[in-house]
């Protein structure tokens, strides 16, 4: 009986994940296009056209919790920069990430939504309001 309950819970969980993913893919083409342009100008040199970064130097954006996980942390990285040891899949990355004060809240939201839904990633979009909240914390 316990087993059945666990299986049922798993089925419900799996279904909700599938449903959530279906919902998440509903990022508008407009946002993705804007995000792509910002990515190419500001991010691509280091994180590379395939989003895989550079071994030892610049971390990948594909399939890492830094990108598809906690939104507040992700926004903070763009808002404040990041100069600490980053280890992803046993690889340590050396280069610091600068802050991007030159980007507007909407540009940050667009580019983060873009990276959360590119390179094999699929995650909920980031809104301008969320960026505003996180940036206010560091001012």
């Amino acid at each position: 009986m316990k087993k059945l309950a666990i299986i049922a819970t798993l089925v419900v969980l799996a279904a909700s994940v599938v449903f959530a993913q279906a919902k998440q893919s509903a990022v508008s083409k407009e946002v993705m296009d804007r995000g792509k342009t910002i990515y190419e100008t500001n991010c691509q040199a280091c994180h590379q056209p395939n989003g895989m970064g550079v071994p030892r130097l610049n971390p990948p954006l594909a399939k890492t919790q830094y990108v598809v996980g906690d939104k507040a942390r992700l926004i903070q990285i763009v808002a404040k920069g990041l100069n600490e040891t980053i280890i992803i899949d046993d690889e340590e990355y050396a280069n610091p990430m600068p802050a991007f004060p030159q980007l507007t809240d909407q540009q940050v939201a667009d580019v983060l939504t873009y990276v959360r839904n590119s390179f094999g990633n699929k995650a909920t979009p980031i809104t301008t309001a969320q960026v505003k909240v996180e940036r206010a914390k560091i001012k």
Binding site: Q44, A45, Q48, N50, M52, P55, N95, P98, A99, F100
Partner: protein, 440 residues
């Protein structure tokens, strides 16, 4: 008619299938990638998948010591010997509990580095390590992640030279941030951004026991002592992101080519200009960095900085330098410089470059001709778009006792051995030309 056509089709298909079978069989026998070398040379796989192979050195009995950037079964140095299976050199010894880049043999010792220290191991008359417990030669060198690998060279007067890379791209107040200005004077230069000299056989040295031999060098991974003229030569990794951080100063189409990767002849007290200056290979001169008021043309204080002896295309990341002293290769290679380029990541407009071994002919300690590509094909593809796509990345060069060259790859941990036989044609005919070879 219909039957004839079907018959013809059938035989054509059969033919195609047999061709495909032959094709597959041939492909299966080919090496992992074709390393293209000039006529008369042969590049063969020596070892495969031995770990993050950085620099390497060969003893007089053809044993290869390799410094690893990541521990392999708990060891940071592996010693290899040729086995009966081609391309599968065996690990005959493994030791050192630290990761790092530098390794060298001098005066009966094997020297090796972590990112903060230099160690050495006494060798016996067979050039084997007597004890895997090292002596600590230098300790406390700065490691702030960026450009932290320590490379070494030793002269013939008992001195040890260590690169201490700058923990910064261009000494901006905010590292790598758009428009952030440079600190002046740059405080990084007190403890990094140069070559330090220590005593080769004195234990437990720190910064205060050594001296800053030369400054204004952003980061060096490849360096070598030139025995012909008794001088130190180093390969600088030029700064990143000139164009992306200062889009108002630079033409987007040209930023891939700025600044040059430079070879320096380093004498005591010299200043090569980082972070205040960079070398523009289009104008053939050092100009002021935009962080210090530069506009792509202004020279200012850069007039007093040392120029390179060779300028290479930007961002190709020279990770090893070796002056060839062997007799196996033709005369024009004698005393010339081999450089292993790790391959670029910061060429975002036209795609990445590098991932090859270059050669510069030298006479009397001076370049006597243009640089050329010597061994190419490590990336395993014509054009690398994203750096991570490159299959192999050259990182170290060593010379064997017979004059053969060993090239290490720190991506998959392969080592290739390059030999020359004037009586045989190269496995791939012709020198590995590429339009980059016409650059300065």
């Amino acid at each position: 008619m219909k039957i004839k056509m079907i018959a013809a089709l059938k035989s054509a298909t059969l033919l195609l299938v047999s061709f495909m079978t032959i094709g597959t069989a041939v492909i299966a026998q080919l090496p992992l990638v074709d390393i293209k070398v000039p006529a008369g040379f042969n590049a063969s796989l020596y070892a495969e998948g031995i770990g993050r192979a950085r620099h390497l050195v060969v003893n007089k009995n053809d044993k290869v010591f390799v410094k690893l950037e990541r521990l392999s079964k708990g060891n940071g140095i592996v010693e290899l010997a040729e086995s009966k299976t081609p391309g599968k050199a065996e690990v005959i010894n493994a030791f050192a509990s630290y990761t790092g880049t530098g390794i060298a043999i001098k005066n009966g010792y094997l020297y090796a580095t972590s990112n903060t220290e230099v160690f050495r191991y006494k060798l016996n008359s067979d050039m084997e390590v007597i004890s895997t417990e090292p002596e600590l030669i230098v300790t406390g060198l700065i490691d702030r992640r960026q450009h932290n690998s320590k490379s070494i060279a030793l002269d013939n007067a008992g001195n040890l030279y260590v690169n201490i890379g700058a923990f910064s791209n261009s000494c901006q107040e905010k590292d790598r941030q758009n428009g952030s200005l440079g600190m002046d004077p740059c405080p990084v230069l007190d403890s990094a951004g140069g070559i330090w000299q220590f005593t080769a056989d004195k234990l437990n040295q720190t910064y205060k026991d050594g001296s800053r031999y030369a400054t204004g060098i952003r980061n060096v991974v490849g360096l070598d002592w030139n025995d012909e003229i008794n001088e130190l030569f180093v390969m600088q990794h030029g700064r990143d992101q000139l164009g992306s951080m200062f889009p108002n100063v630079f033409d987007a189409q040209k930023v891939d080519e700025l600044p040059a990767e430079e070879m320096f002849l380093v004498k005591k007290g010299m200043n090569f200009g980082w972070p205040y200056c960079y070398y523009d290979p289009i104008q053939n001169k050092k100009v002021l960095s935009p962080e210090y008021g530069g506009d792509g043309k202004k020279i200012g204080r850069c007039a007093e900085m040392q120029d390179p002896v060779v300028a290479f295309p930007a961002h190709m990341a020279p990770n090893a330098l070796l002056f060839y002293t062997g007799t196996m290769f033709p005369d024009r290679y004698k005393n010339g410089a081999f450089i292993a380029f790790h391959g670029s990541w910061n060429r975002s407009v036209n795609g990445q470059e590098g991932y090859f071994v270059a050669f510069v002919p030298f006479k009397g300690g001076k370049p006597s001709g243009k640089w050329e590509i010597f061994a190419n094909g490590f990336a395993g593809m014509e054009k690398v778009v994203s750096t991570g796509d490159a299959k192999y990345r050259p990182c170290g060069i060593a010379q064997g006792p017979d004059g053969s060259l060993y090239i290490s790859d720190d991506n998959k941990g392969n080592i290739w051995k390059i030999t020359y036989n004037k009586n045989t044609a190269a496995n791939i005919v012709g020198s590995a030309n590429n339009n980059l070879a016409t650059a300065p």
